[in-house]
């Protein structure tokens, strides 16, 4: 579904990703671990085609097509969606209107209301302006609703578990475990709480702009929990990356 080849990405003039390669198969859920500033969000932004993230070299393939040069909106229409970590406020745009718009453009129609229901988004919340005065948990649920309302083939979740309380985490976890079935997903997480609810097939550890380690998500998470990312640093040295 997604293939990233030797990707180098710069933000302004600073090189952040320095040769990242990974492949996510059809219906597979992968997880990206990494310390702050390692380039996790940059990878997400490069995949969705954010214009501030310049691809210096390397290619991105999605659904068999080279999308490296394609603009962000076209990639979205092809079936890539994202739940942002820090989305902007949209004053005057009601959440229900935006969701209805995304759903209708993607042939989802009224079914987006099921998503809203499962994410426990209230009528009152739907009538508020997107991200204006939302709590941390409300932002996450609103992002997930938008990301799923387009019925995507690939969904990228940028820190779906950061800044949310236990109740919201439970709800989001349950929602994702149902909603990701049959879809490909790339989940970016710093501390891995969301993995209590999801069973990704593979984890990639990103350190200083390169994939330092790959393997079984549970094993990797356990090592990170125990030894922190220093363990990956050593691993990287061992692999000669």
């Amino acid at each position: 579904m997604l293939r990233v080849e030797n990707l180098h990405v710069a933000v302004r003039d600073r090189l952040i990703l320095k040769g990242v390669s990974l492949e996510v198969g059809d219906g597979e859920v992968h997880v990206i671990f990494g310390p702050n500033g390692s380039g996790k969000s940059t990878l997400a932004m490069a995949i969705i085609g954010h214009p501030d993230y310049r691809i210096v070299s390397g290619r991105i393939f999605f659904d068999g097509q080279d999308i490296t040069e394609k603009p962000i909106d076209e990639r979205a229409r092809m079936g890539i969606s994202i739940a942002f970590q820090n989305p902007p406020k949209l004053h005057g745009v009601k959440l229900k209107d935006l969701l209805a718009r995304i759903a209708s453009e993607n042939g989802v129609g009224e079914r987006f209301l099921e998503i809203v229901d499962r994410l426990n988004i209230s009528q009152e919340h739907l009538n508020r302006y997107v991200n204006v005065g939302f709590s941390g948990g409300e932002i996450k649920r609103c992002e997930l609703a938008q990301a799923l309302a387009s019925n995507p083939k690939l969904i990228i979740l940028d820190e779906p578990d950061s800044g949310v309380d236990v109740g919201n985490l439970e709800l989001i976890g349950r929602f994702l475990s149902e909603s990701l079935r049959g879809r490909s997903a790339l989940i970016i997480t710093h501390h891995g709480y969301i993995l209590r609810h999801l069973k990704p097939v593979k984890a990639h550890v990103l350190i200083d702009g390169v994939i330092a380690c790959e393997g079984d998500p549970d094993q990797i998470l356990n090592r990170i929990m125990k030894d922190g990312y220093r363990w990956c640093e050593r691993c990287r040295l061992m692999r000669g990356v």
């Binding site: 979205a76 005057g92 718009r101």
Partner: protein, 401 residues
């Protein structure tokens, strides 16, 4: 109020304090065409929120140039309100004659003087004590004959404890028509009354508009005075004035402006808090395109204990040749008053655009959604069915964007 004709004639040469000075001699005084309520009139009225097809079921007042083309009070509200031509009210009620020209000075400038010298036309609306109208009252002022000065004087009295929504739409027959609209409006809001007065205007590049408004609020009276202008106007100048006379009175003056072409608009809002605990809020959301120039003057004076006032102006610039100029003024004469203002003028945020594009919207679709959102109708304090219909009017007006 008695007016002094000699002083009025002198005032005919007095320019307004702000805005482009117009030569009244360049316009026609009388309608040269036989007025007809045809499909064009109905369609254009609908564009400013007045549905003439529902004239038989909604309380409606339609004035074309200076002719009252239609007026009717909704059956279920008969006995709750009085709606009649102002001329008729002046003849019938001595107290209306006393109120006439009380809140707007006829000597203020050439426009008020011209208006006062003409036979009065416009409506008188009285909402009787304690009556609560859940359906809107609609009024439409239509400029029909090319080049005409349409001179209107409306007077509204909301009696104690009454509640009403009034939608007035002002527009004209053809988009390129020359003309001048002078609209004097005096609004008396009695203790505990609630009034929502929402104007929707659509004009053209050769049309000039000079509204003159005065509002007085008595104890615990609350008024939303809303102005929506969409598109092009040759020149516009207005600075509606509200006096919060009674304790605990509240005024919210909101402007939603989408200005394009070579429009020149000088819009103001002036509130004077004279009663304890008075609240005044002036809100403007303005989008400027092409070579449009907008000046926003907000002024709140507080001379009463515990008064609160806030001026907010948000501008969105969609052209390098456009201009938005904001001039907020706050004057406090009380230690315990709280007056604030905020203004922000900018372009469409790239972050917002990218966010929406990441959801599959094209750049143009995303821009349009942001502009529509910017022209947010929620400050107008309308019930949801009216809010939706005004939102639709705005959406249609900016469809080309």
């Amino acid at each position: 109020m008695q007016v002094d004709e000699r002083r009025l004639r002198e005032a005919l040469s007095k320019p307004a304090e702000y805005g482009e000075d117009l030569d009244l001699g360049e316009f026609e005084q009388e309608s040269r065409e036989r007025v007809e309520v045809d499909e064009d009139v109905r369609r254009r009225s609908l564009e400013v929120g007045v549905d003439l097809r529902r004239a038989s079921s909604l309380t409606t007042f339609l004035q074309i140039d200076h002719e009252i083309a239609y007026r009717a009070v909704q059956k279920q509200f008969q006995g709750d309100i009085e709606l009649m031509p102002i001329q008729e009210a002046l003849e019938r009620y001595p107290w209306v004659r006393e109120l006439f020209w009380n809140l707007v000075s006829p000597y203020a400038d050439k426009y008020t003087a011209y208006n006062a010298l003409r036979p009065p036309s416009g409506f008188f609306l009285r909402i009787l004590e304690g009556r609560r109208l859940h359906m809107p009252i609609q009024a439409c002022f239509f400029s029909y004959s090319p080049g005409i000065i349409q001179s209107v004087h409306n007077l509204i009295v909301a009696e104690p404890g009454s509640e009403a929504y009034i939608i007035t739409g002002c527009t004209m027959r053809r988009g390129d028509q020359k003309g001048l609209h002078i609209g004097v409006t005096e609004i008396f809001v009695k203790p505990g009354a609630k009034l929502n007065y929402t104007m929707i205007h659509r004009w053209g590049p050769n049309f000039h508009v000079r509204p003159r408004t005065g509002i007085i609020l008595e104890e615990s009276a609350a008024t939303s005075y809303n102005y929506v202008l969409l598109g092009h106007v040759g020149s516009f100048q207005s600075k509606p004035f509200t006096r919060l006379e009674g304790r605990g009175a509240t005024i919210s003056m909101s402007n939603i402006i989408y200005l394009d072409g070579s429009s020149k608009m000088d819009m103001g809002g002036d509130c004077s808090i004279a009663g304890k605990n008075g609240r005044a809020e002036l809100t403007t959301s303005a989008v400027a395109l092409d070579r449009a120039k907008l000046t926003m003057r907000g002024r709140i004076l507080c001379e009463a204990d515990d008064g609160r006032g806030h001026i907010s102006c948000r501008g969105l610039m969609l052209s390098d040749e456009a201009e938005i100029y904001t001039i907020p003024e706050l004057i406090s004469r009380r230690m315990n008053a709280s007056l604030t203002h905020e203004a922000a003028i900018g372009r469409i945020s790239e972050d917002q655009l990218i966010y929406l594009m990441s959801r599959g919207l094209s750049r143009e679709e995303a821009e349009s959604l942001i502009v529509r959102g910017f022209l947010d109708v929620s400050p107008l304090n309308l019930p949801s069915f009216l809010e939706e219909s005004i939102k639709k009017i705005i959406d249609l007006a900016i469809k080309g964007f």
